[in-house]
Amino acid sequence: MSDVVEKTLTALPSLLSLDSQPGSAKLSTNSKLGSLIRGITELTSKHEEEKLIQRELSSIKEQVSSPNTTMRQMKELMVRTIYCEMLGYEATFSYIHAIKLAQQGNVLEKRVGYLAVSLFLNESHELLLLLVNTVLKDLQSTNLIEVCMALTVVSQMFPKDMIPAILPLVEEKLNHSKEIIRRKAVLALYKFYLIAPNQVQHIHNRFRKALCDKDPGVMSASLHIYLQLIQENPESYKDLTASFVTILKQVVAGKLPMDFNYHSVPAPWLQIQLLRILSLLGKSDQSTSEVMYEILDESLRRAEMNHNITYAILYECVKCIYTIHPKSELLEKAAKVIGNFVLSQRINLKYLGLKALTYVVHQDPRLALQHQMTIIECLDHPDVIIKRETLELLFRITNDQNVTVIVEKMLDFMSINKEDHTTADLVGKVAELAEKYAPDNEWFVETMNTVFSVGGDTLQPDIPNSFLKLLSEGFDDEEENKKLRLFAVNSYISLLQGEPSKLPQRFLQAICWVLGEYSHLREDVEPDLVLRLLVKLLNIKSTSSETKSWILMAMTKLCSGGAPLSVPLEVSETYSSSMDTMLRQRAQELQYLSQNPELQARVLPRGVSQEPMEVDSSLSFLDGFVSEALAAGAAPYKPPHQRQEELSRSKALSLEPYGLSLPISMSSCSIADRQSPTLLSVSSGLSGDRTDHSHKGGSTTLKLDGVRRVWGKEGYLAQRESAEETAPVEAPSPLQPLVQQGDGDASYSQTPTPIPECEQEKQQLASSLFVGLASQSSVCLMGKSEQTSQRFRRKLKDPAASFPSSTQNPLVSPPSSVGHLLLDSSISSDLISSPEQTHLSSVDLTVANGEVELPDRDMKGIKSTLLREDSALAAGSSPHEELDRPKDSCLTSHLPAELSGLPHSEITPLCTSPSLDLSSCHVQKDDSLVLLVFMKSSSDYDIQQIQVQVTCEELEVSCVCDSPVEELKSHGVVVCQYFLTVKSPSVYFVLSGMMSHQIPDNSLQETQFSHRIPLTSFLRPLRLSTEEYGTMWLAFSHDTKQNLPLMMDAEEPLTATLKVLKDKLQLHVVEIIGNEGIVACCLRQDQPCLLHCRVHAGMLAVWLRSPIPELPDCLLYHCQRALQES
C-alpha cells in the first residue's frame, strides 16, 4: 500500500500543477498540447512558428517510433500531431502510427486513433488498407462504442475494393437493437453506394427496411440513399411516393418525438430531405404530383415566417412546387413566398428570393415583372453576390429586345470583378446571348471583341471556336454573311493598327483566322497591308508560339490572293528553323504553298461553297499506322486513367490481403466526372423550350385579352394597384398612371406629379431591361419574333462536324480542306507491298487508310476508303449490302457452299502479282471466324504450286488444308479457308501473309500481303440470364470505365444506344432496368466481356469487365466508334 501511496505522491505535484494553470480545468487535460498552443501564441513571426513546430514535430517523431511509448502517450502525441497538421505542417510519418493507435489502443485511445486516421488520410490513400483488419475486428466487438467508431470511420472513408470484406458485417448491423448502430450502418451503406454502387446493388431491399425503421433517426438516414437512388432513376421508385408523403404528413403534424424539433419546428432536416425527394418523383409526372399537392399546401401553411429554418422549408417547398407538375393554386402561393423573400430586408432571404426567381422565371416571367424595381435595386447592391445572382436572373430573361442593356450590365460587372471563375462563367453567358439575340452585326462583333478582351485567356476554348464557326458557316442570307465578315475584318484591322500587344492570345488567334480567311472581302485593302500587320504581330515579344502558328497560317491563306512573295518568304525562312515543331511545320507550309499557286488553289480553295468537311473523329485513318505499330511490337494504347492506375499499382507495394483480387479502381476520376457543364445544359434546356413556345406563338396571334397589360411600347408602365398584390417597392413613387387595358397602343397618361430623378432613372432602366417580357405570357419570353432570334442562329448543317480544337490542328478550318496536309502519306506507303502503289508522292494529299488502297487517290478516294472500312466493320449486321459490287459478285459465287449462308464481309483485294490476284473476306461462324482467300488467276497459263501462308501473333490460324494448291487453271479461281480464333484481343488484327507460286519457267515467285480484321468480327453475343451475369461480374477482375456518347435524340436514349451496340457489334442485351442496362458478349465461349451501362449526366457510363486483360479496352474502342458513326 505504501508503495502505491508513494508513487501517487510523487505524481501529485505534476498533477496539481496541471490544474493550477491558467484557464479552466478542462483546458488542462492535454498539458503538452496546451503548452504548445500557448507557445505558438507567444510567437511574433511566422518564421519562429515554423521553427517551433519543426522542433515539436521532430520530438514527436522520435517519441512515436520509440518502442517504450505507451498507447496512452501515443494518444497524446497524436493529438499534438493533428494540431500541427492543422497549422499546415506535414507529418506524414505519423500516419502509420495513427493506424497503429486505432488498432492497439483501448477504447479511448482508439477513438483518437480513428479520428487521426480520418483527418490524415483520404479514401484513396494506400495506408488505409492497413485499417481494414482493425475495422473488421471492431465491427465484431461486443463493445458498442467500438462498433460505433468503426462504423463512423467506414462512413467517411474506406478503400473501395475492400467493401466486400466488411459488407456482410455492416449489413448485419442493420438489425442491431441499438438505433445508433443501425443509423451508422445505414450511412455506411450510403457511403458504399456513393463510391461503388454495384457493390451494394443486391441489398436494395435492405434499404427499404431501413426506411420503415421505427426509429426516426434511422429512417431519415436512409433518405440519403433514396435521394441518391431517385436522382439517378426516379421511375423505379414511384411506388414509394405515397410512403414519402405519409412520412412528411406525420412530420409536419408534429408526430415525431420532441427531440427532433429544432427551434420548435418539427424535424426540419427530414422535411427538406423529403421535399427534395418528392420534387424528383413528381417532375413531369402528373399523377405522382397529384399525390403530393395536399401535403405541399400543408407544409406551406405550417411554415409560418418566423425563423430561418422555416424559410429553409418554404424555399424547398417553392422549388418543389415549381419542379413538379404545376397546380395553379400552389403556384400562386409559391409566387407569394418568393415575393416575400425578394422583398425581405434580410439579405440572405433576398438572395434566395432572387435565386428562386431565377429558377422559376422561365415558367412564369410575370413574376420577374412584378419585382422589376427590386431587381433593379439589386443590380446596384453593394454585395457582389447579390449583383451576381441578379445578373443570372437577367440572363434568363434576355430576349432580342433587352439584350443590349443586359449584356452591358454583365460587361460592367466583369470590369469590376476580379475572380477568374466568375469572369469565365459570365463571359460565356455574354457570348451565348450575343450569338442568340444580337440586334445587328456591329453590335455582335463589338460585343464579341469585348468578350475576347475581357475573357482573356481564361476564356473557354469553345467560345472562339463557335464564334469562328458562326462566321464561316454563316446564315442563309449570303449578303448578310458578307456584311458581318466585312465588319469583323474592318474591326480587326483597326485593332491591329492600334496596340495589339495588349490583346489576349486567344483573341489574336481569332483575329488571325478571320483576316486570313476574309480580308480579301475588303477590296480597298491590299493584302500587303494585312501581311505587314501580321508581321508586326509576329514580332511582338509576348506573342505565344501557338498564336504565331495561327499568324503563319493566316499568311499562307493571304498569299493565295497574289500578294507579293517577299514578306512570307522572309518570315518562313525565319521560322523554318524554329525550335517549335508546330511553328516549323507552318513555316514550311507557308514556304511551299506560297511558291506553288497551283497546289495552293487545291489546298486552300477560295470562294468555294463551304461544305462542312467530314471529320473522322474516331481517327480511323490512323488505324493502319496503329496496327502496324502493334504488329511491330508496340504496346497497345491504354487510356490515361488506366495508365495512371497501373503506374500506381506497380509503384506501390501490394497491400491487399490474399483472396480478394479486386483491382484498385479509378477513384481519381470521380472529381472530374462530377464537373458538369452547367452552362451548356442550362442553355440547351432554354432553347429547347424556346422552339416549343415560338411554335405556338408563331401560329396564333398574340392573345391580349384577359391578360393584364403592364408594359407599353414605351417601356415601363407602373403597375396598377391591385388590392393585395402590390408590394411596397413596386409603387415607390407617387406615380399613379392609368393603364388602359387591352389596347395595343401604349396610351397611358402620366400624372403631373414630379418624379424624383433617380427613381426616373431606375424606371428607365427597368423599361429597357424588362421590355419584351411585356406582352405577357411565356410566349414572348421564349423567343418572340422568330426572324430576329433566328438570325444569329447558325445553320445546323452537320452537328457532328465540330470545329477542331485549336491546339491540335489550327490549320483545319471547316470551310477549307487543308487538314490532310498534316497526314503524312508516308505512313501508308510502306505498309503497302504491291509495287504499283509505292509511288505515292509526298505531295499527294491522300490519307491512306490501312492496307486496302483504292486506285483513285483524290479526295473522293479518301471518303470511299473510309466507307469501305465502315462497311467492313458493319459486316455483321448488314452482310449483303455490298454484294452488288461487280467485282465482288463474281467472287461471291466462289464462296464455299457451307459458308454461303453466313454473314461475310466485303471482298477486298489483298495483293496482285503479274499472274495472280488475291482477295479475301471473312465469314462469321458461330464459334469462329473463317478467312477466305480467293486466288484468281489473271494469266493465260496455268499456275502451279500456289502456297499461301497466313500468320498473326494475336490470332490462332489454322488452315483447312495445308498442302499447296497444285494447279490453278488460267483465269480460274481457288479458295483457301483459314480458321481464326483470338489468342489475345487487339483493336485490329493484322494478318501478314505470304503467297508463293511457280511460274512456267519454274522459278518461284513470292508476294507478301497483309489483311486487317477488326475485333468486331470476332464478337459474338453471349446469352446470359441476369443472375449468371451477376456471378460472372463479380468473378472478373479486369475492368475499364468510360463515358460514351448517348443518343439523346431518341425517345429512350439508353435503349436506343444499346440497340446500336447490339446491331453493330453483336452484343447481347441481357436486361435493361430503368437507366441501367447490362450487356454481354464474348470472343469464344471462354472469352466473355460484360458491360454495365448507366445513363449519367447525359452520357452513357460504361463499365466493362472481362477475364481477358486487353479485351475491355479494345471493345470500348469499337463501342465508341459504333456510337460515333450512328
Binding site: 501511496v5 496546451g34 450511412l187 440519403h224 470521380s670
Partner: protein, 159 residues
C-alpha cells in the same frame, strides 16, 4: 457537404473536416483562398458565396468563422442551420463555448462533429442523441480518471 472549416478572425484554422478526397496541396490552397475571401466580406453581407463551382455558406460566431462548402443544388438556409446546430451542440457540451475551448479541445469538437455529420450528411439532428453518444464515450474516460481520483482521495485521507 464537401467540407467544413472553422477559422478565427485572424485567419487561423481551428478545425477542418473534408468530405471529399483532395490532396493536401489542394486543401491548403482552398483553405487559403477561402479564408481570404470570407474575411474580406463585410458583416452585413450575404452569408452565401459562389466560389469556384461551390456554394459557400458561412457564419461568424464571436471571433470564429464557420464555413461550409456545399454543392450547387443544396439548400443554403438549411446549411446555415447546420452550422448553428453545431454551435449549439458545442455550447451545450462545453457550457457556453468560446474559441479557446475549441482550440484546446479540438479533438472533442471533432468527435461532436462526427456524431452530428457523417460523410457530409446530417446524421443525427436530435441534440439529445448526439450528446448522449458523446457522453457515453466520455464516460469511459471519467471512469478511468475516477480510479485515479479515488486513489488521490485515499492518499489525502491517509495524510
Amino acid at each position: 457537404m464537401q467540407f467544413m472549416l472553422l477559422f478565427s478572425r485572424q485567419g487561423k484554422l481551428r478545425l477542418q473536416k473534408w468530405y471529399v478526397p483532395l490532396s493536401d496541396k489542394e486543401k491548403k490552397k482552398i483553405t487559403r483562398e477561402l479564408v481570404q475571401t470570407v474575411l474580406a466580406r463585410k458583416p452585413k453581407m450575404c452569408s452565401f458565396l459562389e466560389w469556384r463551382d461551390l456554394k459557400i455558406v458561412y457564419k461568424r460566431y464571436a471571433s470564429l468563422y464557420f464555413c461550409c462548402a456545399t454543392e450547387g443544388q443544396d439548400n443554403e438556409l438549411i446549411t446555415l442551420e447546420i452550422i448553428h446546430r453545431y454551435v449549439e451542440l458545442l455550447d451545450k457540451y462545453f457550457g457556453s463555448v468560446c474559441e479557446l475551448d475549441i482550440i484546446f479541445n479540438f479533438e472533442k469538437a471533432y468527435f461532436i462533429l462526427d456524431e452530428f455529420l457523417l460523410g457530409g450528411e446530417a446524421q443525427e439532428t436530435s441534440k439529445k442523441n448526439v450528446l448522449k453518444a458523446i457522453e457515453q464515450a466520455d464516460l469511459l474516460q471519467e471512469n478511468e480518471m475516477g480510479l485515479f481520483y479515488a486513489l488521490l482521495a485515499a492518499v489525502s485521507t491517509l495524510n
